[in-house]
């Protein structure tokens, strides 16, 4: 990975890069807010911002049209908007974090088998235990995502954290194929399981209840706090393990906190929405391009970008095949894959 020097060493006009980054952060928050408003307005039935406002805070009284609007806004649009922000934030931060820890520009929670681990666990839960309620099988998705995440992360850091990006990507592909075959084996023997699985697999932020969203948000919040605490350590770890140790970093503790944070964030997002690949990878690269290699800035940027991209992806999914919808996970894969291909083309994944 190319480590750019820009941003690490204070230039002659010391204050300006920080100010620029702070301004960028504010701009991202503003854009995210705009996207959130758009997400409330757009859908199978378009509403005006005024109507949304009324639906949120106004008293519908006996007006049937207003009651309907309030229903749409409060039970459909608001939950999916909130979930898209929470999950996007979690996946963005997790993507940047996993790239920082593996020092591998291809690392992405979705690409490396975390998603397929979660699908496999969901299938097992539905078919063996007969769980039907998302809030119940969500826990299994969480465990599956965490398990697969730890396996892939472990495999990728066995060689002193300097895994070949290509091998890591192929490993993720292989793990995915294996788990997908197992998932199908279980799903084929049970039609009901197959039915749950095929919707879950598409990766959607729609139709998820507040109970699931609250649990997701709690996990993501814990993961986020750990991630933020981990940021200075990642900067030092990226100087190389020996240098980091010399500077007094507890390497084992640093990596463990990183793994736990990534698992919590990616696990929570995947459990709630289903598999969403490429998001973390995409926003981590955009964030690196915007901020430079300092993870204290890179990670917050990646988080905000993740939330924004997932939200916009969800909105786009509502618009392209109206009145039907394209699930957000599919939109993100269709945007993310060409982005990934472009990075390959530009030679961003060459290992130094």
């Amino acid at each position: 990975m190319v480590v750019e020097q820009r941003g690490l060493e204070p230039g002659p006009n010391e204050a300006s890069p920080h100010r620029r980054r702070r301004a960028g952060l504010v701009a991202l928050v503003v854009l995210l807010a705009a996207a959130a408003v758009l997400s409330l307005v757009v859908g199978a039935r378009s509403l005006t911002p005024a109507e949304v406002w009324q639906g949120l805070f106004g008293d519908p009284g006996t007006d049937q049209r207003l009651t309907e609007i309030a229903l749409i806004v409060q039970t459909l649009r608001v939950p999916r908007t909130v979930l898209a922000i929470v999950a996007g934030l979690a996946l963005g931060v997790a993507g940047a974090l996993i790239q920082g820890h593996t020092r591998n520009p291809i690392a992405d929670t979705g690409l490396l088998g975390v998603n397929s681990g979660a699908s496999f666990a969901v299938v097992l839960a539905v078919s063996l235990l007969g769980l039907q309620d998302p809030i119940l099988y969500m826990w299994f998705a969480f465990v599956g995502a965490a398990g697969a995440g730890v396996v892939v992360f472990g495999l990728s850091s066995l060689g002193r954290g300097a895994g070949n990006p290509l091998t890591l990507a192929l490993a993720g592909q292989g793990v995915t194929v294996f788990l997908a075959a197992m998932t199908t084996a279980v799903a084929l023997s049970d039609k009901q399981t197959l039915d749950v699985l095929r919707y879950w697999n598409a990766g959607s932020v729609q139709g998820v209840g507040w109970d699931v969203i609250v649990v997701t948000a709690i996990f993501a919040a814990v993961g986020l706090v750990l991630a933020l605490l981990n940021l200075p350590t990642i900067n030092l770890l990226n100087l190389g393990d020996d240098v980091a140790r010399g500077l007094g970093v507890n390497i084992a503790a640093g990596r463990t906190i990183g793994v736990v944070a990534v698992t919590l964030l990616a696990g929570a997002a995947t459990a709630a929405c289903g598999p969403i690949a490429f998001l973390g990878l995409m926003v981590a690269h955009i964030a690196r391009w915007l901020t430079g290699p300092d993870y204290r800035w890179l990670v917050p940027y990646a988080g905000l970008l993740g939330a924004g991209v997932l939200l916009v992806g969800d909105i786009a999914g509502r618009l392209v095949v109206r009145p039907a919808e394209l699930q957000a996970g599919i939109v993100i894969a269709i945007i993310g894959a060409p982005f990934f291909a472009a990075l390959v083309w530009l030679g961003k994944f060459r290992q130094a």
Binding site: L111, G159, N164, L170, G174, F178, A181, R198, A202, Q327
Partner: protein
């Protein structure tokens, strides 16, 4: 190993090194494959003993056996044999060209494209017309090949290199997977079950017509591969060395890659995307033969052995007729982890 142990052989313009170990292992693999082939035919709703099976295969059997063996069981076993061989050789080629033990033809987009096409045809009602006129295998093959070409052209930038090829392949595959998932989410649940069964790879109910098409195409491709492949060896030293040794590496690579794509495409169209055979077979054969690169013929034999062996296990050991792809995945998954751990440990040392 010293050169004295391996005397050179020269016939006219051709010369090669006589390596008894490789010949021996290949012969043993061939014998083993034939044995498992016969056992696979003998096991079914009722068991026909092995001598009777072998007699019937060579045309000396009794009427009753002949019907059951030649009409019912033989096509399935033969398709398994051919598909396994095609996958093994295809994998050996891909791994050689990409110079990475984890590269398999799945990465080249064939599987993803064929799957998306097949699922589209199975689930969308207008697909029924295509399925009935062209047939699902042919349509899936077309989809797979088009996707393979797409990967190839997207990865082309002043020549093909293994690194770019694989990553572009992963990206294109991801899009195909997303499309497949979307189609499955839209479709009727009965179609979904049918599509899902196709997606793991299965050898159920094959006919002789399928055997013949698959056989001829595969044989033709294998001949092309073997004629071209003697130039493959120098390519493992890198493009510069290969060019220095007189290999026109772009052309050779293009031909072999196309053959790998076609072989995998034929296999996928005949049996669905059976996972891991193309990944595992060349790697195990390489270790058995103690060669530095995946050997072609032996990989094909081992692929065939692996596939019909897995099919045998799927039919006789596992409950409720699981497709063969599940067994190859159970075998291949742990092997993949072993390869990864080995690769990483080697790098760390």
């Amino acid at each position: 190993m010293s050169t004295q142990m391996h005397p050179g052989v020269r016939v006219g313009n051709w010369s090669w090194v006589w390596r008894p170990w490789i010949v021996l292992v290949t012969a043993v693999l061939a014998a083993l494959t034939f044995l498992v082939f016969c056992v696979s035919i003998s096991v079914g709703d009722f068991i026909i003993d092995l001598p009777a099976v072998i007699r019937t295969i060579f045309g000396q059997g009794e009427r009753v056996d002949e019907f059951v063996i030649m009409d019912l069981r033989m096509p399935r076993a033969l398709v398994g044999l051919i598909v396994g061989a095609a996958l093994g050789i295809s994998g050996a080629l891909t791994q050689s060209i990409a110079r990475n033990p984890l590269a398999s033809p799945d990465v080249l987009g064939i599987t993803g494209g064929a799957s998306a096409t097949a699922v589209f045809l199975v689930t969308v009602t207008s697909g029924a017309v295509v399925t009935s006129t062209v047939g699902l295998p042919a349509a899936a093959l077309t989809g797979g090949l088009l996707t393979g070409l797409l990967v190839y052209f997207l990865a082309w930038r002043r020549g093909i290199d293994g690194f770019r090829l694989i990553l572009i392949g992963i990206a294109v595959n991801a899009v195909m997977q997303a499309l497949t998932t979307w189609l499955l989410a839209l479709a009727d649940i009965r179609d979904v079950a049918r599509a899902q069964a196709w997606l793991v790879g299965s050898l159920d109910s094959r006919s002789w017509t399928e055997v013949w098409t698959t056989l001829w195409v595969t044989l033709a491709l294998i001949v092309i591969v073997l004629v071209t492949a003697f130039q493959l060896q120098p390519m493992h030293f890198g493009d510069d060395v290969a060019a220095g040794l007189g290999v026109r590496y772009s052309a050779v690579r293009a031909v072999l890659l196309l053959c790998a794509v076609l072989l995998a495409g034929v296999a996928v169209s005949a049996a669905g995307p059976v996972p891991f055979v193309a990944l595992v077979a060349p790697q195990i054969t390489m270790r058995l033969l103690r060669t530095p690169v995946p050997p072609l013929i032996a990989s094909g034999l081992f692929g065939a052995l692996l596939l019909i062996g897995s099919d045998l296990i799927a039919r006789s050991v596992l409950p409720n007729d699981l497709p063969v792809g599940v067994v190859t995945a159970i075998i291949g998954g742990p092997f993949l982890v072993y390869l990864l751990v080995r690769a990483n440990v080697k790098r760390a040392a």
